[in-house]
Symmetry: C2
Subunit: 258 residues, 2 copies
């Protein structure tokens, strides 16, 4: 079988998940079949394939994890929600009267976030957006988007881009997952395989698939809080606190070094 | 990325779905993470990939579709449940005091069916089992397993195997899906692609994937009732009735020609 074409996997998936949740959207009905949940398919470069229901990307606050609520309470000033997706967190901040901008590389996801009422949105990579004149007080990396730090090479690039967009005293609120609590031999072997090729154990190499489309392969980082602390050394950020109440999930707060 | 190794995809998936539903089973916990449903990943040879929750394979009667209930009311005598999986239908027949044998190619699925209490099980292909001395009055192909007829070449082989296992007056109760009601352009194009290469429109070429494993590619047939009628012509079976109350799903009853 040939390689699937590259496209806006996340956007197509979010559009369909929104159509299933709300009944609004262009998805053709499958000839009267029993409706099925929209599933995100994630391939890892050891051959692992996993599916996960996509509906949680549209979750209202009463469907969130506890750390999502604690993360929003840490926001202040102008907020940039990075990897905003369908806007679940940004919409709640906007409801609370806060200034919030949603950034995502997926045009399809931003389209749904706007349809749901999010007013200030940008379709761009963090790298491209770093040249913008806007300045922020809080950077949100929720929904495990600490993973967007990618790994030891990519993290300083991302953190530098955020520093360029930062007001004095700015913070990053990032939700991560410590991958090392698992006893699943498939994951334990993958961590070992990663270390042998000079990567962090939880430096996942992934691509997403949805229907006919795939993304390019990309790095997505699950790291421990200790690994995070090492990663940000030498950047303009320092680790201020790590909330590990919901292990293996955690909330890291980084602040700009003055 | 290399091709995934071939293995008992369905069995591994059913074992994990059973562990998630019941809390019983060997699956290592993923380091305290929020539990996720087990997802069956299905690839089609046009590059389409779909995920669907696997839990329905363990569904109790109150979770079934209406046609499942109507199918069981059509059973009589000794029943062979083909592609019995985790035994959802066979277990209910057994509870009702009927003689039922569960046949599946997946050793892992049969292991779970037995753990759930199914007494009479066989791990074999239909082709291999056709040499057995057992005789049946009803053959069940539920959960869309009319699809196991495969296509115009495979169907007569399967139907002949069942005829060899049949008592006089035996019936096949098969649940199928008419694929042609869809307006989804991805599926409409696939039907066209199939016809151009000399296949029935809904003659799917699929493989299943779960975690690190894949199945071989296999044909699985979604056909209309009219196509089914043409397929069984010249075999020892004739179409007795088609119940289309739950379109696009249908129940076909075939009976042995004396």
């Amino acid at each position: 079988m040939q390689q699937p074409p590259i496209g806006d996997v996340f956007g197509e998936m979010i559009r369909d998940a929104y159509a299933v949740r709300t009944g609004v959207g262009p998805r053709p009905l499958a000839g009267g079949r029993v409706p099925r949940p929209v599933i995100e398919v994630i391939e890892r470069d050891d051959g692992l394939i996993n599916g996960a229901p996509a509906d949680h990307y549209l979750g209202e606050p009463d469907e969130w994890q506890p750390h999502d609520h604690r993360a929003l309470r840490l926001c202040r000033g102008h907020v940039l929600d990075i990897g905003v997706g369908a806007g679940r967190h940004a919409l709640e901040l906007q409801r609370r009267g806060m200034a919030v901008t949603g950034l995502d590389t997926s045009a399809g996801a931003i389209e749904i976030a706007r349809r749901r009422g999010l007013l200030d949105t940008v379709v761009a990579t963090i790298d491209a957006y770093a040249a913008a004149s806007a300045r922020y007080d809080t950077f949100l990396l929720l929904g495990n988007n600490l993973g967007l730090l990618g790994g030891p090479e990519r993290a300083p690039v991302v953190l530098d881009a955020l520093a360029r967009l930062a007001n004095p005293g700015a913070r990053i609120i990032a939700q991560g997952t410590d991958p090392y609590g698992t006893t699943d031999p498939v994951h334990v072997s993958y961590h070992q395989f990663n270390r042998e090729r000079g990567r962090l154990g939880g430096q996942l190499r992934l691509r997403l698939r949805y229907r006919l489309l795939a993304t390019e392969w990309f790095d997505y980082l699950n790291c421990s809080a200790a690994e995070l602390e090492a990663l940000i050394e030498g950047t303009r950020w320092r680790l201020r606190s790590v909330d590990e109440q919901d292990r293996p999930y955690y909330l890291a707060v980084m602040e700009l070094v003055e």
